[in-house]
Structures are given as structure tokens and as C-alpha cells.
């Protein structure tokens, strides 16, 4: 009798355990975790077994091996005797170059377009609308092909290069050539001067804001800053005797030598990415501005704020809170979309590393893993930076 009582109690405590929501939620989460870990383990295990079964060598040793191929456009010294690791770095740098330039330009173009679409000028507003609706709705890959093949075809050949600036800037179907300013050693002083002015400008701005708050007097901060930025380095330039040893592009038998060459692949990719992403950014900017309640503008007006101040102090700070989070995703999109470079032959990481290096080395799993890690890192970094910025401009709740 006592025994069955005990059993009853035990089963009751067991069933109460099953009906205990806290226990249940933990149990299911642990179960899910186990399934996920098991699945991951299975994938890794299976890959290893399969690679062995295919008699493939694995590991990251290949990174130290000579690559044996050339890359057309590289920011660092690279030749056929460089290693696969160098290919990796060249690829990352080329991706970064197009992504960073693209983000800056797309932001600028996007803001202009977004504001233009809200313009009271009928033509400007309509033009912006047409641009946004057309560009947004055509796949990026097609646009890249358009910029590359259509525009390349209309460019003159090397022999009939367009002299944009006589003797200095040339345009042809091999790209855009312009002089390379090779600064001499003394030029370092000019660079230091620029950095110092930039730092000074930061403090100047804080000082002018404080002065405005304390005395109500305005300090013409922006003109003064720009003036300093031009005058100070110029003076240093003359005093230090800095000079530029400019190398101009010159035509030889086939191509131009010397100077800086921007290959058409880069230009086409940059154009495509900027024009496409700017259309999305424009819509985000428009949404941000529209989201600021009209009452805010009216309140600012009734306080007697000038037009500029009303925009800069009231409307834009509030609009930014709406703009920044989706803007971050556009930046991430642009970076990831730059992988379409492979279609038009720009040597980004997907082209040179996941393409050629993978093929020549045969290390598919390692190479793809590394490439994914690069994009993940770039995206997470962008997110972190934008989140910090977002936190700074976010509404401070008290």
C-alpha cells in the first residue's frame, strides 16, 4: 500500500513536471540545441569523410603556395610568384575599394535624390521619381552588363583615346587614365598639416556650439574651417619645399603607361552599384523626412528659427532616427552585391579567390569558408559602426 502511494506520488510529480511551463520551455530549448549541434556535427563529419573518400587533400597549407596566375588590378604588389594568401588579400582590398567608394557615393547621390523627390519643383520631383522607379525595378546584374558592355562599346579605342585634359587625362575602352602624383618626402608635412587642421576643426566646432549656447552669438564655423583647410596646408607646402613628381600616362604600342588607370570593370561596377543602391537610399531618405511630423516644422517656425536651422536642428536629427537603420541594410546590400563583379571581370574576392584560386588549388571548402568569413566580417563591421552611430543619434529617453 505504502509502495503504491509512493508510486502515485512519483508519477504525479513526473506529470506535474511535464505540465510545468518553465521545465517545458527549458526542455524544448535543450532539445533544439541538441538537434542543432548534432546537425552541425553531422555536416562537418560528413564533409570530412566525403573529402577523404574523394582523395582530396584538405587544410589551409595551400595559402603559402605560389598561385601562378596574374591579377589585372591590384592595390598591392602582386605577381604570378605571389601566394594564394596574397590573392586573398588582393581580393579583399579590391572588394573593400569598390564597397567603400560605393557606399560614400551612393549615400551622397541617394540623399540628393531623396530630397529632390520631395522638392516643390515639379520637374525635379518627377525626374527623381522616374529615376528611382526605373532603377529600383531592374535587376542589378542587368544594369552591370549594361554599364560594362554597352558603355564599353561606345568608348573610343586606345588609338583614338579621348583627351579629357590635354596630355593628362585620357579615356578609352581600357579605362580612365590620369596623372599619378608621386609626393616626395617633404610632402609628409603637408599631410600632417591637413590632419592637424581636421583635428582643430573638430574642437573649433565644439567651441562654436558652446559659444552659441552661452552667448547666443553665431560663429561662421564652416567658412572658417574650409578656409583653414586650404590656407594652412598651402603655407606648409611652400615652406617645407614639398613637391609632386607627377607621372603622366603615355601611350606606348598597345596601352597607356604610367599614371593611374581605373579599369572599365571597376568604373562599371562602381557606377552600377552606386546608381542602383542610391535609388533605395533615396526612398529611405524620403521616408525619413516625411516621417517628421509637420507640427515640428511649424513649431520651429514659430520659434523663429531660420530655414537652415529648422532643417539642421529640428527636421534632420529626427529624420535620421528613421533613416539610419534601413540605411545600414543598404550598405550591407551594396557590399554583398559587389560580388556580382565576377560577371564583368572585376577582380574582387569572389572573382580572384573564390573563382580562380579555388579552381587552381581545388580547395573548395576552405576557399568558400574563407570567402564567407570575409563577407560576414565586413557586414558585421558595417553593422557595428552603424549601430554605434545610430545609438548616438537615437532619441535619448529620460
Amino acid at each position: 500500500m505504502a509502495k503504491s502511494q509512493e508510486q502515485l506520488q512519483q508519477s504525479r510529480s513526473l506529470s506535474s513536471l511535464i505540465y510545468d511551463p518553465k521545465f517545458r520551455s527549458y526542455a524544448f530549448q535543450i532539445l533544439l540545441l541538441l538537434v542543432l549541434v548534432g546537425f552541425g556535427w553531422w555536416i562537418v563529419q560528413n564533409t570530412i569523410v566525403n573529402l577523404q573518400a574523394q582523395n582530396k587533400t584538405t587544410g589551409f597549407d595551400f595559402l603559402g603556395v605560389t598561385s601562378g596566375f596574374d591579377i589585372g588590378f591590384s592595390l598591392i604588389e602582386y605577381s604570378r610568384s605571389s601566394t594564394y594568401l596574397d590573392v586573398f588579400i588582393v581580393g579583399i582590398l579590391n572588394t573593400l575599394l569598390v564597397a567603400v567608394t560605393g557606399i560614400v557615393l551612393a549615400t551622397m547621390l541617394g540623399f540628393v535624390l531623396g530630397v529632390a523627390r520631395l522638392s516643390s519643383n515639379w520637374i525635379i520631383a518627377r525626374m527623381a521619381t522616374i529615376y528611382i522607379e526605373v532603377i529600383r525595378n531592374i535587376p542589378l546584374l542587368l544594369q552591370l552588363f549594361f554599364w560594362y558592355f554597352a558603355v564599353l562599346k561606345s568608348m573610343p579605342s586606345v588609338r583614338d583615346s579621348l583627351e579629357v585634359i590635354s596630355g593628362a587625362v585620357f579615356l578609352n575602352n581600357r579605362g580612365l587614365y590620369f596623372p599619378d602624383p608621386n609626393p616626395n618626402d617633404a610632402f609628409l608635412w603637408v599631410q600632417i598639416a591637413v590632419v592637424l587642421v581636421l583635428i582643430g576643426g573638430f574642437f573649433l566646432q565644439r567651441w562654436s556650439v558652446r559659444r552659441l549656447e552661452q552667448t547666443g552669438e553665431r560663429f561662421p564655423y564652416i567658412p572658417v574651417f574650409i578656409g583653414l583647410l586650404i590656407v594652412v596646408p598651402a603655407i606648409v607646402w611652400f615652406i617645407s619645399g614639398a613637391g609632386l613628381d607627377v607621372s603622366y600616362p603615355e601611350r606606348n604600342r598597345f596601352n597607356f603607361q604610367g599614371g593611374i588607370q581605373l579599369p572599365p570593370e571597376f568604373v562599371a561596377l562602381l557606377f552600377g552599384l552606386v546608381i542602383y543602391t542610391a535609388a533605395f537610399i533615396a526612398e529611405i531618405v524620403r521616408a525619413g523626412i516625411v516621417s517628421v511630423n509637420k507640427g515640428q516644422t511649424e513649431a520651429a517656425q514659430s520659434l523663429g528659427l531660420k530655414d537652415n536651422d529648422r532643417l539642421n536642428l529640428v527636421v534632420i536629427p529626427q529624420a535620421m532616427r528613421v533613416i539610419v537603420p534601413p540605411l545600414t541594410s543598404q550598405y550591407l546590400n551594396l557590399t554583398k552585391n559587389s560580388s556580382l563583379a565576377v560577371a564583368i571581370g572585376y577582380p574582387d574576392i569572389v572573382n580572384v579567390f573564390m573563382g580562380t584560386a579555388l579552381n587552381q588549388s581545388g580547395k573548395a571548402v576552405e576557399v568558400i569558408f574563407m570567402t564567407m568569413a570575409v563577407y560576414l566580417t565586413l557586414s558585421l563591421l558595417t553593422s557595428v559602426i552603424m549601430n554605434i552611430y545610430n545609438a548616438r543619434i537615437a532619441l535619448t529617453e529620460r
Binding site: V49, N55, I71, R174, V342, G362, I368
Partner: protein, 337 residues
């Protein structure tokens, strides 16, 4: 292009299911009823589809020969067009059963990639094509030129070697698709287009104005192009290799598509062994003994395949490396006995 990336990624990560398929390729192929063959997307003479999606080319006919040996039906084959970049992943992941895609046999590919080459369908070498009005007569004059190249090929490596050895600079412009390479060359993005000389000959004919382009005399590399299979399946390897040899053996003994039925009554023991009248050579590779008869009946011998596909693109066989050994070429089959 995203699709390709996905294919590669999937192929790499999910080579999972491949292990089962790899064990016995012949059984799998027989079970599904057709051969899956990886070919070039569009290389005239080697593999290219016509308007009705009928494939033709020397690489295509090799696959048809395999299908004929296995199924007695040269149409029991499906073609997967692959870029240079995708081809090895497609083979090792089990997406295709045999890769017959103008692929150069090199040591690293044979030993590192988990694949094995089974023969040399075509002995080739890398050459250069330039517009005539450039006034270039030798590859040694190409210093500082912009060179259009297809990604993931031995071409890329050979060009790097050649220009480095000769102390010349060049500017490689690399595309993923041969079509894009040709288009960029035609648009004047590059001074030079380099690839296997057979492909150069074929591509020249597809340019807007073939007569204004010429192929330079230099051949800068050895490019033995042949089919390959996954490592680790010896039976399948043997089938692939001996289908190729049967094509050569048939030509050597004068067995053609037209006379193969008569040849069944031949007194020549070599012919009798080839056609399965004597011996049990087919059983040893898991096929029926008339396997080679089927091949010749449906696709003809090596010479006929060459004549049908490669001669029209302007590459003569007589006296070349691709002639039979009996006529001074390199095409040589070990005896079937």
C-alpha cells in the same frame, strides 16, 4: 552569377550525398537510365548546342560513345554545360558522371582534386589571337598588351608563365564565361585573346569579322584535353578509359560506322576481340561483350568523330598530334586482348 555561386557552395558543402553515389557509378547510371555528362557551354567543334538544343562536338560524341556502350543508345545521355570554374566541383559532388569538357590533364588536377583523367581526346596547345591591324607578328611582341582570358583555366597559368619567362608585362582581363571573354575581345577591351589554339580557331569564326583577326604562330603550352571521372571507382574509370581506347582501336583496324556489321565476320582476331565476337572483354568492365560494337555502330570511330566535328572548324588532322600513331600522331591505344 549568384546561381553559380550557389551551385559551387552547395556542391562544396553538400558533397554529402555524393558518397553513396560515388561507390558504384555504373550501377547508379544504369538505374537512372542515362549518363550525365559535363560539357563546355559553347565551344564549336568540342561541345555546342544548335537551335534545337541538339549537342554536337568531339567531347559530346565521347559521351554518346559511353552511353552507347552502356545502354546501346547514344541518346541516353544528358548534357550539363559547365564553366571552367564549376566543372571540377560538379564532377566531385556527383552532379555529373563524367566530365568531358576541353579539360587539360595536369598533375595537380589529377592528384589534388579527387578526379582521374582517363585519356586524351585532343592534343592541344595554347595560342594567341590578335586583330590584324595591330601589326603584331609574334607573341614576343606582346609586351604591355591587355590579354583577355577565361577564369579558372590552365590558360591563365600559362599566360602568367609565358610573359614572366620572356620578361614581358601584360594586363590580364579575366572573365568567367568564354562568351564574355570573346565579347570583350571583340569590343576592343583587350589586344589579345588567348586560349587553346583549337578554341581560338573556332572562336575566330564566330567573331563579327573573322578575316580581320589572326592567330599568332607561337604555341606556348601542352594542353592534352581529355575526359575525367571521380577517383575511387575503378570500374567506372576503366569504362571511361576503354571507351576512348575502343574508338582508337576501331580506327586503327579500319572498323567504321558503315562497315561495322560486316566486320563482325572479320577474320582478324584483333577486330573479333574488339567487337566482342571473341573473348569476354565487356564483362570485365561490367558491360555486355558487344560494348565496342555498340560504340562504333552509333558514333563511329575516333577518326569519324574528328572528321565530323573538328575538321569543320578548320583544324586538319593529317600529320598533327591527333593523328593515329600509325600515321605519325600520338593517338595510340593499348591492345584489346
Amino acid at each position: 552569377m549568384n546561381k553559380k555561386i550557389v551551385t559551387i557552395a552547395l556542391g562544396a558543402a553538400l558533397s554529402l550525398s555524393a558518397s553513396a553515389a560515388m561507390a558504384d557509378t555504373l550501377e547508379d547510371v544504369q538505374a537512372k537510365g542515362y549518363l550525365q555528362c559535363g560539357v563546355a557551354p559553347s565551344t564549336p567543334g568540342f561541345a555546342s548546342p544548335d537551335e534545337n538544343n541538339n549537342w554536337s562536338g568531339i567531347d559530346v560524341d565521347y559521351c554518346r560513345a559511353m552511353a552507347a556502350a552502356i545502354f546501346d543508345d547514344p541518346e541516353a545521355v544528358r548534357f550539363t554545360p559547365l564553366t571552367s570554374k564549376e566543372r571540377f566541383t560538379a564532377l566531385s559532388s556527383g552532379e555529373i558522371d563524367v566530365l568531358s569538357r576541353t579539360t587539360t590533364w595536369t598533375m595537380s588536377r589529377d592528384t589534388n582534386l579527387g578526379i582521374s583523367f582517363t585519356g586524351v581526346m585532343f592534343y592541344d596547345g595554347q595560342g594567341f589571337m590578335v586583330p590584324k591591324d595591330l601589326g603584331v607578328n609574334s607573341a614576343l611582341e606582346l609586351s604591355d598588351a591587355a590579354v583577355c582570358i577565361e577564369a579558372g583555366t590552365t590558360t591563365e597559368l600559362n599566360a602568367a608563365d609565358y610573359f614572366a619567362t620572356n620578361g614581358m608585362n601584360y594586363n590580364p582581363v579575366v572573365f568567367e564565361d568564354q562568351d564574355e571573354v570573346v565579347k570583350a575581345y571583340d569590343d576592343g577591351r583587350c589586344d589579345v585573346f588567348t586560349t587553346d589554339s583549337s578554341a581560338l580557331a573556332a572562336e575566330r569564326l564566330s567573331l563579327a569579322d573573322p578575316d580581320s583577326h589572326k592567330i599568332l604562330p607561337e604555341i606556348i603550352s601542352k594542353e592534352p584535353l581529355g575526359p575525367s571521372v571521380r577517383q575511387g571507382d575503378d570500374l567506372w574509370f576503366n569504362i571511361s578509359r576503354w571507351v576512348y581506347f575502343a574508338l582508337l582501336e576501331a580506327e586503327e583496324y579500319g572498323v567504321t560506322q558503315a562497315n561495322v556489321d560486316e566486320m563482325l565476320g572479320s577474320e582478324n582476331p584483333s577486330v573479333r576481340r574488339l567487337l566482342g565476337v571473341e573473348g569476354e572483354f565487356g564483362k570485365a568492365i561490367g558491360l555486355s561483350d558487344d560494348w565496342a560494337y555498340r560504340i562504333i555502330k552509333h558514333t563511329g570511330n575516333y577518326g569519324e568523330i574528328y572528321e565530323r566535328n573538328v575538321t569543320p572548324i578548320g583544324i586538319d588532322r593529317a600529320g598533327s598530334l591527333n593523328d593515329l600513331w600509325t600515321r605519325g600522331g600520338l593517338q595510340y591505344s593499348p591492345p584489346i586482348r
